[in-house]
């Protein structure tokens, strides 16, 4: 039997179905073009994932730098060719708006995994070898932050740090890193745009500005809270159906599900995501070579960050930063990225018996 992570595949299919249902509800119970698009994109995504799954794993390893460089180039030129209201994040590909910052998450992890898996036992203890690693993370992070896209930028950053941490960064450097991050918070604050600051401040006190920036959080909490244990019923969520809920097709789709299916519904979603996250981690845990272990651990972190940031945001635990819920939110790039992750995971899983990739 092929080493296929069935739990992950089944979980993703269920999430796509839930996402389609949620979009149907968000479109006032009408089978709109966007509902169809969602299903169509999922199908295309699945094909891409299968394609990647059967690529030789060496190719992933070898092309990781080119992939990273390509993404960095896109991020660099995006201010000139990109589209988007307020923040320039997308490139218009004709059939979809492509957001390079989403696959940037994968690119950073692949290149980092390649770089770190080549370090010898002695090198791991030396601080100097982490300088290139920091650059691999920092360049795309900085470019995304300047778009500006605080949420995605931080997710790239944290995902990359996760890979470095797992690769065996000595404890003393971990503590040093944490200290550096804490010390640089005031510096980062100064670099933030006003609207980003406003979001953070609104997060700290959403009731202060109920009709302004706090509106989204307040309405989302009302929708979730009023859902109760079993929810108001499919297509019956008054907050969602009467448009009190902003961005209900994209970032706030979890709220819609929570309102219509209640605590039971929201727990189901979280459970499925954690099954996916843990089965990705499981691939790495079982694998013999470092590259596979680091990549899977990093990809698990990417999915985790998507889910955590999104749900924490709609429940008012984190500020509204604009993060989609993969496979459920309407939006092409996040879904494509998730299927890329699936493809890579399938590939890793099929090749998990190989010990040293660079040799073979």
């Amino acid at each position: 039997m092929l080493a296929i992570p069935w739990m992950m595949v089944i979980g993703m299919v269920i999430l796509v179905i839930i996402g389609t249902m949620a979009l149907y509800s968000a479109s006032d119970g009408v089978w709109t073009a966007s509902v169809q698009q969602h299903l169509l994109r999922s199908a295309v995504g699945l094909l891409i994932a299968l394609f990647i799954a059967f690529l030789p794993i060496n190719l992933l390893f070898r092309t990781s730098f080119i992939f990273w460089l390509f993404i960095v180039c896109l991020l660099t030129i995006i201010p000139f060719i990109g589209v988007g209201a307020g923040a320039t994040r997308w490139i218009n590909l004709g059939f979809m708006n492509f957001q390079p910052s989403e696959p940037a998450k994968i690119a950073v992890i692949l290149l980092l995994a390649r770089y770190l898996s080549l370090r010898t036992f002695d090198q791991i203890d030396k601080l100097i070898i982490y300088v290139p690693a920091i650059f691999i993370i920092a360049i795309p992070t900085a470019l995304v932050l300047r778009q500006p896209d605080l949420g995605t930028g931080l997710m790239i950053f944290v995902g990359g740090l996760g890979v470095i941490f797992v690769s065996g960064l000595p404890k003393r450097y971990v503590l040093l890193g944490l200290g550096t991050v804490a010390a640089s918070i005031p510096l980062i604050w100064g670099q933030l745009y006003d609207y980003q600051k406003a979001r953070l401040l609104t997060f700290l006190n959403p009731e202060k500005d109920v009709l302004g920036a706090g509106w989204q959080i307040t309405q989302s909490k009302i929708a979730l809270g009023s859902g109760g244990l079993f929810g108001k019923g499919y297509l019956q969520g008054s907050q969602s159906q009467l448009d009190y809920l902003p961005e209900k097709q994209t970032d706030f789709v979890f709220t819609l599900i929570g309102e219509e299916f209640g605590f039971v519904g929201s727990m189901t979603i979280i459970l499925i995501y954690f099954i996916i996250i843990l089965s990705i981690t499981g691939i790495g845990f079982r694998a013999k070579n470092r590259f596979t272990r680091l990549v899977s651990s990093g990809l698990a972190m990417v999915i985790f960050l998507y889910v955590f940031v999104n749900i924490a945001m709609v429940t008012g635990v984190l500020p509204v930063v604009g993060a989609p819920l993969p496979l459920i939110s309407y939006g092409g790039t996040a879904m494509l990225t998730t299927f890329l992750i699936l493809g890579i995971c399938l590939n890793l899983s099929l090749n998990s018996f190989k010990e040293d990739i660079e040799i073979s």
Partner: protein
């Protein structure tokens, strides 16, 4: 090689440990989300559900049509007419200010009205209609309709307006409604949400307000986040207020009002130039014209005068049902339901003859000689006199160091009780009052219904004063003096009654058996048997009734000229001095009423009932500054009784 293997294994173990650590942290963060969702969806579910409902629904109250007021024959006294109201829905307009400016150009709006609408628009959801102008005239309606194409977001809405088809005839009974005042809102916050509600401000409209208002309907409007109504859900339909039937017969009422106002003068054509000229010169006439009066009179001196001021109450002697109650001058209650201008309000409020006062229940008058029945009955009951006891009247009664005069300067000679009533001899009553004492007179008066509230349901009734010794001590702090008993003997001094109390007294005297109580609402009319017995000896009552009859029937009766042919009337005249007559004036000869200033003339009173043998109606008439009771009030009473009896 072995070393390298070992190193690889060590790195591998380190990575595994780190992966476990990261996975554990991810699960821990996941549990934070689970906890947060448990808090939101399970623990705080109830409060969020409330907030969600508040988001979802806009509750609106729907005003119910007001209950009607009908006369005894089901004719409409107060009802609702459908009117067109101009409303604006701000959500459907692009520029509210400009729109209002356009409407101003068509039908005229005051700056204040415009500001109010703009202010209202700011404070409520923009899909709720705001009234611009209620009670549109036909003219305004057509002018607006023609230009409706340029008036975006404006629509005509049917609404109810309170109407009083009888106009001024019954204003003091029905009272009036008008918009909610700030004070009412302070007492009942809910009223604030009843945009356009009118509440009773006086009369029955006020006392029966809650019941007339009916039950407010409740409507839930499902609203989306942009304030757009999605669905209307009716939780409770509005229920029209209760209808009330009165004991009033509007035909008799109408006649009574007309007859009271006419007095002894002649109505003149208002359009005549000499009349118009007189109105322009005479502030008093003008004041009447300003409150909508159309009756101008020519008095015995050929002077143009306003209609008489006063009150009439006509009552069924068996049931106490009030058939007519007139108070003059009156006002048009329709003024308040529509748009009452400041000027119209000023004209009413500053009018010298107080048209807003309901004289029937709130006009306080000395009963004068109409009180003599009380004194005579008290004296007979106490046994201080019998029907045969006579006193000599030489025109005045010396008591202490003071002379108490009789209205008849030459005196009445020797008169017994019945003759004293018939001729209204004051000297006779000075003496028997003194003998009877104020406490027994007061006791008799109370039993006859004086000094007691009738509680017919109209707010603002006055109690009047029916004094005794205890009253004087409590209210004036001094001892009652015999001189005060003397003057009370002819219904003056402290004694104050209302026209309705005098009517109740007369009804009880005519009934002879029961302590009849007045009622105005058909539902509260009782049959005669249900009243308490009148605890006055029947032989005493019989003597009083005969005396009252002789006022009309005897050759020297004060109302001998005003027999009610075919029925027979009993009654008593009263003429009440409003200005003390000085010694000099008395020596020089008292000036005739007609030649005095209106304010200085005597009040004219008459109480009576008919038919004498089988009493049906009791009446009390008061004409303020009307001159003498016999020449002014008696013919009014006679004519109204006649009109009422002939309509049976």
């Amino acid at each position: 090689m072995a070393k390298k293997r070992k190193e690889i294994l060590e790195v591998s173990n380190q990575i595994s440990r780190r992966m476990l650590l990261v996975g554990g942290m991810q699960i821990a963060f996941g549990l934070i989300l689970v906890g947060r969702l448990y808090q939101l969806q399970i623990l705080d579910n109830a409060s969020y559900l409330k907030l969600s409902d508040k988001n979802q629904f806009d509750h609106r109250l729907v005003i119910a049509p007001r209950g009607r007021i009908l006369d005894s024959k089901n004719r409409l006294l107060a009802g609702n007419s459908e009117v067109f109201e101009l409303v604006v829905i701000p959500a459907r307009t692009k520029d509210l200010k400009k729109l209002l400016f356009n409407i101003d150009g068509i039908i005229g709006l005051s700056r204040e009205e415009i500001n109010n609408i703009i202010e209202t628009a700011k404070n409520q959801p923009d899909f709720l209609e705001i009234p611009i102008k209620s009670d549109l005239t036909q003219r305004e309606l057509s002018h607006l309709a023609i230009r409706s194409a340029i008036l975006e977001g404006v629509l005509f809405q049917k609404n109810f307006n309170r109407i009083y088809p009888q106009g001024k005839l019954l204003s003091h009974v029905t009272g009036y409604v008008s918009g909610i005042t700030e004070k009412e809102v302070r007492e009942d916050r809910q009223l604030q949400r009843l945009v356009g509600l009118k509440t009773g401000k006086s009369g029955l409209e006020k006392s029966l307000d809650i019941s007339l208002r009916g039950t407010v309907g409740k409507q839930r409007i499902e609203v989306n986040s942009r304030g757009k109504p999605v669905r209307f859900i009716s939780d409770r339909l509005p229920k029209q207020g209760k209808d009330y039937q009165l004991t009033i017969d509007i035909d008799i009422q109408s006649y009574a009002v007309h007859r009271l106002k006419l007095g002894n003068s002649q109505q003149v054509e208002l359009a005549k130039s000499s009349v118009q000229e007189a109105i322009n010169k005479n502030a008093e006439l003008k004041a009447h014209i300003n409150i909508g009066e159309t009756m101008i009179l020519k008095d015995a001196n050929s002077k143009y005068v306003p209609p008489e001021t006063g009150a009439v109450v006509l009552m069924d002697v068996h049931t106490g049902a009030i058939i007519a109650m007139a108070s003059s001058p009156a006002y048009d209650p329709n003024l308040f339901a529509g748009r009452l201008t400041n000027r119209a309000w000023h004209n009413l409020n500053q009018h010298p003859r107080v048209p807003l006062l309901n004289r029937v229940i709130a006009g306080l008058y000395s009963p004068g000689s109409t009180f003599k029945m009380v004194v005579y009955a008290a004296a007979l009951e106490a046994g201080v006199v019998s029907s045969d006891t006579s006193y000599s009247c030489k025109g005045f009664f010396e008591f202490g160091d003071r002379n108490f005069y009789c209205w008849q300067e030459k005196g009445h000679g020797v008169v017994n009780g019945r003759q004293a009533i018939a001729q209204s001899c004051d000297v006779y009553f000075y003496q028997i009052a003194l003998k009877t004492g104020i406490d027994r007179i007061q006791n008799m008066a109370i039993r006859m219904g004086l000094g007691a509230m009738t509680d017919i349901g109209i707010p603002g009734e006055k109690l009047g004063i029916m004094p005794n010794r205890a009253w004087k001590k409590n209210n004036r702090g001094t001892v009652w003096t015999p001189g005060e008993t003397v003057i009370a003997g002819i219904g003056q001094g402290f004694v104050l009654t209302t026209p309705i109390q005098l009517a109740v007294m007369t009804a009880r005297l005519a009934n002879g058996k029961k302590a009849v109580k007045a009622s105005l609402l058909a539902q509260s009319v009782q049959s005669s048997e249900n009243f308490l017995p009148l605890t006055i000896n029947s032989s005493v009552l019989r003597e009083i009734q005969r005396s009252m009859r002789s006022v009309i029937s005897s050759a020297r009766g004060t109302a001998r000229k005003y027999e009610l042919d075919g029925y027979g009337m009993a009654g008593k005249t009263g003429t009440v001095q409003v200005k003390r007559i000085s010694k000099i004036e008395r020596d020089e000869g008292i000036i005739d009423n007609i030649d005095r200033r209106w304010k200085d003339r005597d009040h004219a009173l008459f109480v009576g009932y008919a038919p004498y043998d089988d009493p049906k109606y009791a009446i009390s008439v008061i004409v303020e500054h009307g001159g003498s009771g016999s020449s002014m009030a008696a013919p009014i009473a006679r004519d109204i009784l006649k009109f009422a009896l002939e309509r049976q």
